[in-house]
């Protein structure tokens, strides 16, 4: 099993930390992992993306060219990464701010209204773990929920562990929230 994921959106949306949780979850499950971010000034308010690979085997290239899953969180990323999903792959996106919805017919497309849900709950910080829950729902075979919870814990500094219950709750919310677009 090898899962190659691209997560892309605005800097500040928690793109990189979502990738980090997935990478940690992979480690908890004794998988090989890589986490390759875009870096530089674009991180400060511009677009940010991270490639995460989780595999049973040693990972050759941490740089991908097409992905099993794309998690897309803004329009620029949709324009850039919709075409990089492997045929038969998965594209998950938050419709908030999306003006051109994905058009491909050879991949499975899901929406998750995580921005709306997080703001309804008054906690923008759980946005990325809501998205994570959605991903886990449609891709249950990559990492187990227990390892994801352990991954969230490992990815956070000890002083932030008080947010663990809220994040675990957000994962469950995300699992409920994800759906096929109408």
């Amino acid at each position: 099993m090898t899962e190659e994921i691209i997560i892309a959106g605005f800097g500040g949306q928690g793109v990189l930390s979502l990738g980090k949780i997935l990478a940690y979850s992979g480690i908890m499950q004794d998988k090989e992992v890589s986490w390759m971010p875009s870096y530089g000034p674009e991180m400060r308010g511009g677009t940010a993306n991270v490639t995460v690979m989780i595999s049973d085997r040693r990972i050759s290239s941490p740089i991908g060219q097409e992905y099993d899953t794309a998690i897309i969180l803004n329009q620029q990323s949709m324009d850039k990464f919709e075409k990089t999903v492997k045929p038969g792959g998965v594209l998950i996106y938050d419709p908030n701010g999306i003006t051109r919805h994905p058009e491909r017919r050879d991949i499975s497309i899901y929406t998750i209204a995580a921005t709306e849900e997080a703001s309804r709950r008054g906690n923008s910080k759980i946005f990325n773990t809501i998205v994570l829950g959605g991903y886990l729902k449609v891709k249950p075979g990559v990492v187990t929920l227990d390892n994801v919870y352990a991954g969230i814990k490992s990815s956070l500094p000890e002083r932030a562990w008080k947010t663990l219950p809220a994040n675990e709750e957000a994962v469950r919310i995300g699992m409920e929230l994800i759906r096929k677009p109408e």
Binding site: E32, G40, P62
Partner: protein, 359 residues
């Protein structure tokens, strides 16, 4: 006790420095390697191992602080990225001339000039041919994973002290910024004063009224210094070449790539093999000394051609051609300016430049 962590390559360098018993780190922030000094400052090793960590006012100051610390027989280190490494040239030359060990890390970005902060391998020639003025070379290691970023700090110190020569870890923004699993072995304690006196007292400043200098006004004596330095490089070539070969046993076409390029090219080999093409990968782990012999052996064994993939305008390809010496075609494929090739691009280049041509 082994401990598994998820870490950036840059953070692994920092942890590697502390665990390898580094005595002094001197550095100046520059993207994409600032995590190294940031991690060290957060770790506060001066409270645990006693290692000094200092943010210098420039890369010029950093490398000269390294020179001072190295003169004391201590394990000294600086890290930077391409433009900052250019500023270290003078100091590296003095350190090599004074025959001192130290470790320097270059997390490369694209150039020339201020260039880009995106990854490149454009400093290959600088690292292996002309890191500064005068006849000298660095020992150059090229890690291709977060684990090797950590392990190579240990290896770099081992070789630097064995040969009394500065060692460089030549990496780039890909390996520096990416996170992977890191297995951390037990830390080495810092060297004691007694250890330094016993083992390095012949050249280090241990209170025996020693002189550390790269100055020799008498030309005939300077030539002797040069000969001694060159003899070390010969010994390095004979004893310290490290190389990783993947799928080379039956390979008809071999990709030669180092560092991040070797990771991408490993995938290219998988793609080519899936298409029925007998491709292999030779990854130099030491760029200086260079694996001339391993390349010659492959050429003699019936490899039909080599493709050198590198993130520059074609620098290492010249060394591969020198090694293969016309026996087989050696082609180049590269990207520049911070652009990275995909595994598929390299595979296509191999087919176009080698297979089409040798048909």
């Amino acid at each position: 006790m082994k401990d598994v962590k998820l870490m950036k390559g840059n953070e692994a360098i920092a942890l590697g420095a502390v665990n390898a018993g580094c005595d002094g780190y001197f550095g100046y922030p520059i993207t994409p390697q600032s995590e190294i000094i940031e991690t060290l400052m957060e770790m506060k090793p001066w409270e645990t191992t006693g290692m000094a960590v200092l943010q210098a006012e420039s890369e010029i100051a950093s490398i000269n602080m390294v020179y001072g610390a190295a003169a004391m027989g201590k394990k000294a280190m600086t890290t930077s990225s391409s433009p900052g490494i250019s500023l270290c040239s003078e100091g590296l030359s003095y350190i090599a001339g004074a025959e001192l060990p130290c470790v320097v890390v270059n997390v490369q970005r694209g150039g020339p000039g201020l260039g880009t902060i995106q990854p490149a391998q454009a400093d290959y020639a600088q690292a292996v041919k002309a890191p500064g003025h005068g006849d000298f070379n660095l020992i150059v290691l090229a890690p291709n994973s977060v684990q090797e970023m950590y392990d190579h700090v240990f290896l770099a110190y081992e070789l630097a002290f064995k040969y009394r020569n500065p060692a460089m870890i030549l990496t780039d923004g890909v390996i520096g910024q990416m996170m992977e699993k890191l297995v951390v072995d037990e830390a080495k304690p810092r060297m004691t004063e007694e250890f330094i006196r016993e083992n390095y007292g012949s050249w280090a400043l241990v209170g025996n009224k020693g002189v550390v200098t790269s100055l020799e006004l008498e030309a005939s004596r300077q030539e002797k210094v040069n000969e001694r330095i060159q003899a070390k490089y010969k010994a390095l070539k004979e004893n310290e070449v490290r190389v990783e070969m993947t799928d080379c046993d039956d390979a008809e076409f071999v990709i030669v790539a180092f560092g991040s390029s070797a990771r991408i090219a490993a995938k290219s080999v998988e793609i080519l093999r899936a298409e029925g093409i007998k491709a292999g990968l030779l990854r130099p782990i030491t760029l200086f000394p260079f694996p001339d012999k391993q390349l010659q052996d492959l050429a003699a064994k019936g490899v039909k051609g080599f493709l050198v993939a590198e993130l520059n305008a074609g620098q290492m390809v010249k060394d591969v051609r020198l090694a293969v010496n016309g026996a087989r075609p050696v082609e180049y494929y590269g990207r520049m300016g911070g652009m990275i090739y995909s595994p598929g691009e390299i595979a296509e280049a191999l087919k176009e430049k080698l297979i089409e041509k040798t048909k």
